[in-house]
């Protein structure tokens, strides 16, 4: 052994270990995060009885305030999320006054309104796209552990990306090389292609993902500069008016002129959210938040008006370069600024990321497979975990959609049952697959996942009046696209099952150097 090995060998070693330790969780994060680019669309698909049309922001705000004045006049704060092209309902919730029976600052349950009529919408109870979105960074674990684990895995991902770039000696040559049906070599090629093809995306999405929760992961620079951490948020994003109610009633001014004033100040920027404090009190205030979808920066800024007379009270300060950078990173990660074409690109790049993690995990086993020999314990664990993550999680996601259509709409607690269906399918299938030999387990779990996805459009057509043919006829792009994605995913999983059934396992690549087995490090550097 040389005293100082090159850079590549330790980087190859750390790359495979980082990828192995975090790989299964990263795959789940990548896949559910990718689905979350269509969070509002999934929610709309999961409430097929709703067919609301988005209304103009001023109209939606007016109807929401009228509903709240009638139904929650004594609450301390109203939150109104205005509809847009993708979320067609107005979403509202309120916070009661701390002195009432409820605990201080607890938010009440979210209610959705038809923006045109201002009436509460009745639809089946579901978590919708929110389920994948939350799982993506909370991993269905209690707060704060899920977020910490997700952050740790993201950090491993960042390390794996940097060490992976160092490891691949001919990275851009490898990008053009894909050798099918050659066992280990094919998995390596596939890993390289998916990784290099979208490398800027992978690096961007991993780093910006860490930035989305930076206040939790890395609050120490705030602590170093501010005696009171809250001061940072005020300096960076402006002051929240937290005045107490005066006790003198004063009707809120009409909302439309305030929205018009904000839109003019933003040179046409759309309002996304209204926060009304102390409604219908002489000391009331209305904060209008700017929609982040027309700019890269996800934090659009805000303006606050006095609720009693419509005076402009305050606005968020223009962001400096660093605050702007953080906001743009957030925007790049969430992709809310993306129009349909870019959104589908995000979706496909996210799938590429999932495939990169998946092929990396498969490469780990392909490289260590020895025909005829009894596989060592760790190898068998990794092999089984790969089946449980790569084939069974997609099946669980399909079960979530199927449960949405099969559980009666009026069933109490049905949104929780949908989530249970996802995890019973995922982990149940993973446990059942242990009863089968590895090769059969791959074929069967992939086939189950394919059938589950293929049955989503069928079950949708049988249980709703929004099946594929009728959606095509009525020009319902969302429902058509959803069914087509389900069928495409089913086809990909079916193809994977077919490949698993028809391709004989290939022995690991012969090492170039004959003689005694080369060191594991040498092998990794060679192959990885």
């Amino acid at each position: 052994m040389k005293a100082r090995a090159g850079l590549r060998q330790p980087m190859a070693w750390i790359h495979s270990w980082l990828g192995l330790v975090a790989g299964w969780i990263l795959f789940a994060m990548f896949l559910t995060g990718t689905a979350s680019y269509f969070r509002p669309e999934i929610t709309r698909w999961m409430q097929p009885e709703l067919r609301t049309e988005a209304a103009a922001p001023a109209e939606a705000a007016r109807s929401a305030i009228a509903w709240l004045q009638a139904n929650a006049p004594h609450d301390e704060q109203w939150y109104i999320y205005l509809p847009d092209d993708r979320t067609t309902a107005t979403r509202i919730f309120t916070r009661p006054r701390p002195d009432s029976m409820t605990p201080a600052k607890r938010r009440r349950e979210e209610i959705r309104l038809d923006p045109a009529t201002g009436e509460a919408l009745e639809a089946r109870d579901t978590r919708g796209g929110e389920q994948f979105y939350r799982f993506h960074f909370q991993l269905q674990l209690p707060h704060p552990w899920g977020r910490w684990l997700a952050g740790l895995c993201a950090m491993f991902m960042l390390g794996a990306i940097v060490s992976g770039v160092v490891t691949h000696k001919r990275i851009f040559v490898d990008f053009f090389t894909l050798r099918w049906g050659k066992g280990q070599r094919s998995w390596l090629d596939a890993h390289n292609v998916t990784a290099v093809l979208a490398l800027p995306f992978h690096a961007m999405i991993t780093y910006t993902g860490l930035i989305t929760l930076v206040l939790m992961y890395m609050p120490w620079p705030i602590a170093a500069n501010y005696a009171k951490p809250a001061t940072f948020a005020v300096e960076a994003y402006g002051n929240d008016p937290e005045g107490a109610a005066s006790g003198r009633p004063a009707r809120l001014v009409p909302i439309a002129p305030l929205i018009a004033a904000a839109t003019e100040e933003w040179k046409g920027g759309r309002p996304s959210t209204l926060i009304v404090r102390n409604p219908d009190d002489a000391a009331s205030s209305v904060t209008i938040l700017r929609d982040g979808t027309d700019a890269l920066n996800a934090r659009g800024g805000s303006i606050t008006y006095a609720g009693a007379d419509g005076r402009r009270l305050a606005a968020s300060p223009p962001p400096g370069p660093a605050i702007e950078t953080a906001g743009v990173m957030l925007g790049l990660h969430m992709g809310n600024y993306a129009g349909p074409v870019l959104r589908w690109t995000y979706f496909l790049l996210g799938l590429t990321g999932s495939a990169m993690v998946a092929t990396g995990l498969l490469l780990w086993t392909a490289k260590r497979r020895k025909p005829g020999a009894t596989p060592f314990f760790g190898f068998r664990v990794v092999e089984r975990m790969n089946i449980g993550a790569l084939a069974c999680l997609p099946a669980g996601m399909a079960a979530f959609f199927l449960a949405n259509r099969l559980i009666p709409a009026a069933q109490p607690g049905r949104s929780g049952l949908e989530v249970s269906a996802m995890f019973w399918m995922w982990f149940g299938l993973a446990v059942l697959s242990l009863l089968r030999p590895v090769r059969r387990a791959w074929i069967e779990t992939l086939a189950v996942a394919a059938v589950a996805f293929a049955s989503v459009p069928v079950v949708n057509a049988l249980t709703t009046d929004r099946g594929l043919i009728r959606s095509i006829a009525s020009g319902d792009g969302l429902f058509v696209a959803f069914d087509l994605v389900m069928l495409s995913v089913a086809a990909c999983l079916g193809f994977a099952a077919w490949r698993a059934a028809h391709i004989a396992p290939v022995a690991p690549r012969q090492r170039r150097h004959a003689g005694p087995p080369a060191s594991a490090g040498k092998e990794l550097a060679d192959a990885a």
């Binding site: 330790p10 390390g159 620079p221 500069n225």
Partner: protein
């Protein structure tokens, strides 16, 4: 000889991993905080730059811990810079 042996036995490997993960985090937090405290620009801006760049510092230190052979050198550099920067931040105190 495997990388693991080349890098020392089990205990040394565990020490290396802990230094990379916990020490790397502590050093990244310390360096980012000290930089945010000393950077002569607006406080909120300096704070945000510190937070944005902290993960870059973390990943660089973490990977270097597996590139460098001598464990004592790694431990000295990573834990030493963590202690020095965090100590300096605590000594100087917050701006406001």
């Amino acid at each position: 000889m495997s990388i693991r042996k080349a890098r020392g036995g089990g205990w040394q490997m565990a020490a290396r991993c802990l230094t990379a993960l916990l020490g790397g985090y502590a050093a990244a937090a310390g360096i980012a905080s000290l930089g945010a405290r000393l950077l002569p620009i607006a406080t909120a801006e300096a704070t945000a730059w510190g937070m944005i760049l902290s993960f870059l510092i973390f990943v660089s230190l973490g990977l270097w811990a597996f590139h460098e052979h001598r464990l004592t050198r790694i431990a000295l550099v990573i834990w030493g810079s963590a202690a020095a920067t965090i100590g300096a931040v605590l000594l100087i105190g917050p701006r406001a």
